[in-house]
């Protein structure tokens, strides 16, 4: 993915219009809850708008926004854990959706992907989403997650191992414990 440099004429509205869908989609897959993704997307853009006038003109806007989104989502996931001790759940997965779900392979696959993602440690989940869905390079992921590039190699390796374990566990119906780091 090409990094977007901060153009001098970008307005807040234009930044929102340009990045609203990828940022929302990223946050949604990190937290797995549509309403919370709405709130966290709002928080992300407001934090960015507040800080933007202080940033240097050479700012890589895209990576910077994803970094804010990642930290905002991590904070929320941490709070969720502290407050509720509830397992990761899709609160906006309404009964109607369940009723309408059809045993078609695509729907099942989509659900398996969602479930496997939600079972992963959030740090690995973020790295995997940035690589596969946002098309980030290792260097861009390192910049976004504030880790070394060698760390990205390890994160993605752990992420893929974890995703594979969870996906197969869902396929066979045998839940697996979550391994690895958590935040």
């Amino acid at each position: 993915m090409a990094m977007v440099e901060l153009e001098s004429t970008w307005s807040f509205e234009r930044i929102y219009d340009e990045f609203k869908t990828p940022i929302y989609n990223y946050i949604y897959h990190l937290v797995g809850n549509r309403e919370q993704a709405d709130d966290l997307t709002q928080d992300t853009f407001l934090k960015a708008f507040k800080a933007l006038p202080k940033m240097d003109a050479s700012l890589k806007l895209s990576a910077w926004l994803y970094r804010i989104a990642t930290n905002t989502a991590y904070d929320a996931l941490r709070r969720r854990k502290l407050i509720a001790w509830l397992p990761w759940q899709d609160l906006d997965h309404e009964p109607a959706d369940v009723e309408s779900a059809d045993p078609q392979e695509t729907i099942e696959t989509t659900e398996l992907v969602r479930t496997a993602l939600r079972q992963m440690p959030p740090t690995y989940r973020a790295a995997l989403l940035l690589y596969t869905q946002q098309g980030f390079t290792y260097a861009e992921i390192a910049q976004t997650l504030n880790i070394a590039e060698s760390g990205v190699k390890m994160y993605l390796s752990r992420a893929r191992q974890s995703f594979r374990e969870q996906y197969h566990a869902q396929e066979t119906g045998v839940p697996r414990p979550i391994k690895g780091a958590s935040r």
Binding site: L6, E7, S8, T9, W10, S11, F12, E13, R14, Y16, D17, E18, K20, T21, Y24, N25, Y28, H29, R34, E35, A37, D38, T41, Q42, F45, L46, F49, K50, L52, P53, D56, A57, L59, E94, A96, D97, E99, S100, A101, D102, Q104, T106, I107, T109, T110, V113, R114, L128, L129, Y131, T132, Q133, Y138, K153, L156, S157, A159, R160, Q161, R164
Partner: protein, 537 residues
């Protein structure tokens, strides 16, 4: 070499991030180890699954939530005053031009900062902002009447412009939401500073406020004849669901008429759908109350009585659905039929229809082979749904008879768009635009992911964005018709003028107006906020 060591390297090997020596070792191991080869195959498969996972977009209301939030106001104007602030230098001389990226404190200190930055030779963003904004559109007083003709309307710096002329008065506006009527005669816009709805003619005259009582305006939807505007207001615009109130107003009126309301937390599941005659509007709603989620479609009559209306709500009727409606439409004709597609945001699971004259003959059809459809589009002109099935096939389904006609086997479909006459279906799949008719499918060319092609009003041409610029194809021959000569930089959107004589392109280099032959007619060196729309004064 052990499987354990190889497993640790497989992810980087898959990404081509191992050095040559390590990659050779892994490659040699994979040639003889089915266990590790299976893991590598899984990684490739899972990467593809994740890349193709349904993309989720925020609710349209989120934009309003952000830009009307107290936090955003504070960013723009500083925290609410609790005591008289100490004396400070006066604000920058042209605050409207420069203020939109800068909080109050920054605005006050901008002249000082700019001086320091310029003196130090630094190239900080604030200085660049100010330098560039000076070349933007000029802010005039209230504009004079503009001449007749098709003109592109765009938003920038919180105001609306028509070509290079300001369309609304600068002093009172910070436009957030706006919509040109389908006939191009009127523009409805929301002024965020007062949270009021205003209407202005496309020739910049008749600007007036519309009274909608209370609530934040979250949705505007014009009837096809441009005679009625539907307004949705929310009691809690910052919530995903809120008590909603629905209004209608004619363009010359100064007060909106109440259509109805939903007291419990409610959300719009799909864009409102107007019948072609502008007499009925359908709203797909999900309401959450103590008994759970209730899904349905509410139909409001504008001047005609509504079938199935009750004494309590004589101008409306509600169809109850088991699952949310994700798309709505109306067939044309003297007795139009309301049609809908139900399911989730990622998979359509059923289609239904009801004639307006009865609304009682509620019929829903479920087509087993099409369950889980990833995209649907309705063509009012022909009454046909286009449906993209999970297996990559594209079919059309008659909205009332339910007859299924297979059209083509394309592959994973990202989007569908019928031509206005319903004769040709544009299908985007794996970065390629296909033109599909009853007689077959033609590959038109590469299209940028996430962009939407634009059909010319007469359905003969389709314009789309590719990595080599804007392309125009003929829908009749499926062959390249022209390429835009004028658009530099990244193009983010395009739209045909109502008469089909001009194609507007906008993106990082501003706005370009092209002829259908791809010749540049005019350029507007302004970066618009959101997508411009055509008016027809």
């Amino acid at each position: 070499m052990t499987c354990e060591w190889v497993e640790e390297q497989l992810s980087a090997y898959h990404d081509g991030m191992l050095d040559a020596a390590a990659a050779d070792k892994v490659r040699a191991h994979l040639a003889t180890c089915t266990h590790c080869a299976a893991i590598l195959a899984d990684y490739a498969r899972f990467d593809q699954l994740l890349a193709q996972a349904p993309r989720h977009a925020p609710a349209p209301e989120l934009r309003n939530r952000i830009f009307t939030s107290p936090a955003f106001r504070e960013i723009m104007h500083g925290p609410p005053a609790v005591a008289a602030p100490p004396a400070r230098p006066s604000a920058a001389p042209k605050p409207h031009v420069s203020a939109r990226l800068l909080p109050q404190a920054a605005r006050v200190w901008v002249p000082v900062l700019v001086l320091i930055l310029l003196l130090s030779g630094a190239t900080a963003v604030i200085g660049k902002i100010l330098a560039n904004r000076a070349t933007g559109p000029l802010y005039a007083a209230c504009p004079a009447a503009l001449p007749a003709g098709d003109r592109l309307v765009y938003q920038t710096n919180g105001s609306l412009f028509s070509d290079n002329a300001q369309l609304v008065c600068e002093a009172r506006t910070h436009v957030t939401r706006w919509q040109v009527s389908p006939t191009g005669q009127w523009i409805a816009y929301v002024d965020a500073t007062t949270n009021t709805l205003r209407l202005v003619r496309a020739n910049a005259t008749g600007d007036h406020e519309v009274d909608t009582d209370a609530g934040a305006i979250t949705t505007l939807s014009w009837s096809p004849d441009g005679q009625t505007l539907l307004i949705v207001t929310a009691a809690q615009p910052q919530a995903a669901r809120s008590a909603l109130t629905f209004w209608r107003v004619s363009p010359t009126a100064t007060a909106a008429t109440l259509l109805g309301s939903a007291a419990a937390p409610t959300r719009l599941d799909a864009a409102p759908a107007w019948s072609a005659d502008g007499q009925s509007v359908a709203l797909a709603l999900t309401t959450n109350d103590a008994s759970g989620s209730q899904h349905g479609i509410t139909i409001y009559g504008i001047q005609q009585p509504v079938a199935q209306a009750t004494a309590n709500a004589p101008d409306s009727a509600t169809l109850t659905l088991a699952v949310p409606a994700q798309a709505l439409g109306w067939t044309t004709g003297s007795d139009p039929t309301l049609v809908w597609a139900t399911g989730t945001s990622t998979a359509i699971t059923g289609l239904g229809h009801a004639a307006r004259s009865t609304l009682g003959a509620l019929a829903s059809a479920v087509h087993a082979t099409l369950l889980g459809a990833t995209a649907v589009a309705f063509a009012p002109a022909t009454g046909q749904w286009a449906v993209a099935a999970p297996d990559g096939s594209v079919s059309q389904i008659d909205a009332t008879s339910g007859q299924v006609t297979p059209l083509a086997q394309i592959g994973p479909v990202a989007g569908l768009a019928w031509s206005p006459d319903g004769g040709t279906l544009a299908v985007t799949s794996n970065g390629t635009l296909w033109l599909v008719t009853a007689t077959g499918a033609t590959k038109a060319g590469k299209i940028d992911a996430g962009t939407i092609p634009a059909w010319s009003p007469d359905s003969t041409l389709i314009a789309f964005i590719s990595n080599s610029g804007a392309q125009i194809y003929s829908s009749t021959t499926g062959a390249a018709h022209a390429a835009s000569a004028g658009a530099n930089g990244t193009i983010s959107g395009l739209a045909w003028s109502p008469d089909g004589h001009t194609l507007a392109l906008w993106g990082s280099a501003g706005i370009t107006l092209d002829s259908p032959a791809g010749t540049v007619v005019a350029t507007i060196a302004t970066l618009p906020t959101g997508a411009p729309q055509w008016s027809a004064a």
